[in-house]
């Protein structure tokens, strides 16, 4: 078991290194001049040249990359002399547009995205897995058919549509909630909830629909397994069979997919954050595109990629824990 975990972690580290290189190169090889993007329209050539030196864009690419990686672990100092400034570790660059270290920006926005993702995740899993199991157990009856219709609709609705629909109906038309205005849960829990509940529902709808279908199919397949029949033949209660035999088998692949979906969300639920004006990483990423803020873009992309790699590794390990047959490898 430990070799299994160790091997996965080792592979993840190698993958992370590759990801960081690839991401950095992707942006470094863009035809634009990164130094020119550091100040606005009325930029003097001398300022651009000075910035180029300060940010290290005059150096060859491999050295830039090396500085970048070093910065992640040891922090990075830009410029020299009395105009020098430091971004402490982990330094992902410096945003001239927002006059902040990228890591600080991400640090501010990430919690919002994290809360958003976590809440939506819990909601869609409970709703999706619960409804899917229910539909499977009532296969062919009206409960199953109704679920099928509802999920078909749910799966087809794009996130922005749901978001706007929800926003319009709940906030403007029914006036049940005020317009969402984010507040940190430690500051004002009530406002936090009021702000998050609609984005949570929006994000959860699409995923709940597809997870309902996944779960329904998984449960139906598991119910056909021989060992489920054997469990029933032992005299176990129906509920026990469903819990220990059917769900145990059906949920393993679903839990692993869910882990990956969750990780993808952590990179920024761009559409939802925009619709509800939540100051999360998704909105940060969008802004950096419109502002051509390259360092922030690189930073957010890399963070999102890191989450995916980590999630893949964790999901692999969890799979090995849940399914003893997988551990052999």
């Amino acid at each position: 078991m430990t070799t299994f975990i160790a091997r996965r972690i080792l592979f993840a580290l190698v993958l992370l290194a590759a990801v960081s290189l690839f991401t950095y190169l992707l942006f470094a090889l863009l035809p634009t001049d990164p130094a020119a993007l550091t100040c606005g329209k009325n930029c003097k050539p001398e300022l651009i040249a000075a910035n180029r030196v300060r940010l290290g864009y005059d150096k060859p690419i491999y050295e830039q990359y090396w500085q970048f990686i070093k910065g992640i672990f040891a922090g990075r100092t830009y410029g020299s002399g009395d105009i020098a400034f430091t971004c402490p570790a982990p330094s992902l660059g410096y945003s001239f547009n927002q006059h902040e270290c990228v890591s600080t920006l991400i640090g501010k926005t990430f919690p919002v995205t994290a809360f958003l993702s976590l809440g939506a995740f819990v909601l869609w899993m409970l709703l999706g897995v619960g409804t899917g199991t229910f539909a499977a157990l009532h296969r062919g009856k009206w409960q199953d058919r109704l679920t099928s219709v509802v999920t078909s609709i749910g799966v087809s609705l794009p996130t922005f549509y749901v978001g706007l629909l929800v926003l319009f109906s709940v906030v403007i038309w029914l006036q049940w909630l005020p317009f969402p205005h984010y507040a940190s849960p430690t500051e004002n829990f009530h406002d936090f909830l009021a702000a998050m509940i609609l984005p949570w529902i929006t994000l959860a709808v699409l995923s709940a629909a597809s997870y309902t279908r996944l779960t329904r199919n998984g449960v139906l397949e598991a119910m056909n397994e021989d060992f489920v029949r054997f469990g029933v033949a032992k005299g176990l209660k129906n509920r026990t069979v469903i819990r220990r035999y059917v769900l145990r088998a059906a949920l393993i692949p679903i839990v692993t997919i869910a882990g990956l979906d969750f990780a993808a969300l952590l990179g920024g639920a761009i559409v939802t954050e925009s619709v509800f004006s939540l100051p999360g990483m998704g909105r940060l990423a969008i802004r950096s595109v419109t502002d051509s803020d390259l360092p922030v873009l690189v930073g957010t992309t890399l963070v999102a990629a890191v989450f995916i790699v980590m999630a893949n590794t964790i999901v692999d390990i969890v799979y090995g824990v849940l399914d003893p047959r997988v551990r052999v490898k």
Binding site: F227, F230, G231, K234, G235, P324
Partner: protein, 340 residues
């Protein structure tokens, strides 16, 4: 004085509704099993033998299955029993084992966990530790080497033969009075099959357990069964003691099966005896005898055979029952001449 049979199945009918229509899986099946004896149910694929077996424990219930008839276990009604009653029978008084040992065990729990579970369902007040000891004894009894070390391993870590032993251990942990074994050795190597059949016979002798053995292998039937029921097209076409079936079969299908198996066994080269054609579709059972298209004797009695479904009737002077319109003395002596 007649012994009351341990299990008595009367006029069992099972239908499945499928998108293609109604499948008549089991048609008017009746038989009885006595304690300490082994009844073999023989048939090829699509004969309805597996569905018959799973009906005994009401394992067919679902939206699509309709079961009619009567099944009496120790005088108690099984088909009419409520959920609680049937659950108390399953795994404790009647146990069932299935064909493929790889898929019969839950891959996510250790074998010890699963045997203990089977025990504690029917002995709720027994603590896990005590149940584990009993499980160890059982593993030892079924011939798992070094059970103390292996009880915490997972099913996939055992070979096919070992897994079937574990399945048997799980099924027999509560000393059931009746064991239903659905093709228990089909998926196993022949040397392992011999071991497993021996094990089952041993335990049967110890506990006076009745066994219903479902198989397509006539060799297994010959060696292990006391009585045999041959199924075809969802019906029992012959019921006899094992000696009677093999020496004087009274139904053309049994006769054909034995012929095919025997011509394979004997060393003369040359064409094998076959039964032409294939088994009938259970969706569209014909009126009249379902074996008619493959029967070599039907020409003598075409009108009756094609319109009237033959019922099981005694074939004197034997003790066998046959579902054949031509179950006359003339037919038997004809067949006996052919075998000799």
């Amino acid at each position: 004085m007649e012994k009351i049979p341990l299990l008595s199945v009367e006029n069992l009918n099972v239908e499945f509704s499928t998108p293609d229509g109604v499948v008549h899986a089991v048609n008017n099946v009746s038989f009885a099993v006595e304690s300490g004896k082994t009844l073999g149910i023989v048939g090829e694929s699509g004969s309805g033998k597996s569905v018959t077996a799973s009906s005994i424990l009401k394992l067919n219930s679902g939206v699509t299955a309709k079961t009619q008839g009567a099944i009496l276990f120790n005088g108690r009604d099984v088909l009419g029993a409520d959920d609680k009653a049937i659950r108390s029978i399953r795994g404790s008084e009647i146990a069932m084992i299935f064909q493929d040992p790889l898929s019969a065990l839950n891959p996510y729990y250790t074998i010890g966990n699963q045997i203990v579970e089977a025990y504690r369902v029917h002995h709720r007040d027994v603590k896990k530790g005590a149940a584990r000891k009993i499980a160890l004894e059982m593993l030892h009894r079924v011939g798992i080497p070094n059970p103390e070390a292996r009880i915490d391993e997972y099913p996939h870590q055992f070979s096919g033969g070992m897994r079937q032993r574990i399945v048997i251990a799980t099924a027999l942990i509560n000393s059931p009075k009746l064991l239903i074994a659905d093709e228990p050795t089909t998926a196993l190597d022949v040397t392992v099959q011999a071991q497993i059949l021996d094990l089952m016979k041993d335990i049967q002798k110890e506990n006076s357990m009745a066994i219903i053995l479902i198989t397509h292998d006539l060799g297994v039937v010959a060696e292990t069964c006391d009585d045999v029921a041959v199924m075809y097209g969802g019906r029992i076409v012959e019921k006899a003691t094992v000696n009677e079936l093999f020496l004087t079969p009274t139904h053309p299908y049994s006769f054909g099966l034995l012929g095919a198996v025997r011509s394979l066994d004997n060393s003369a080269r040359g064409e094998l005896q076959t039964i032409a054609g294939s088994p009938p579709s259970l969706l569209h059972l014909p009126s009249g005898c379902s074996f008619l298209p493959r029967c070599g004797y039907a020409q003598q009695n075409l009108a009756q055979c094609s319109s009237v479904v033959p019922e099981l009737g005694k074939v004197s002077p034997t003790e066998s029952f046959s579902a054949c319109h031509l179950r006359t003395e003339a037919l038997i002596s004809l067949k006996m001449k052919e075998i000799a």
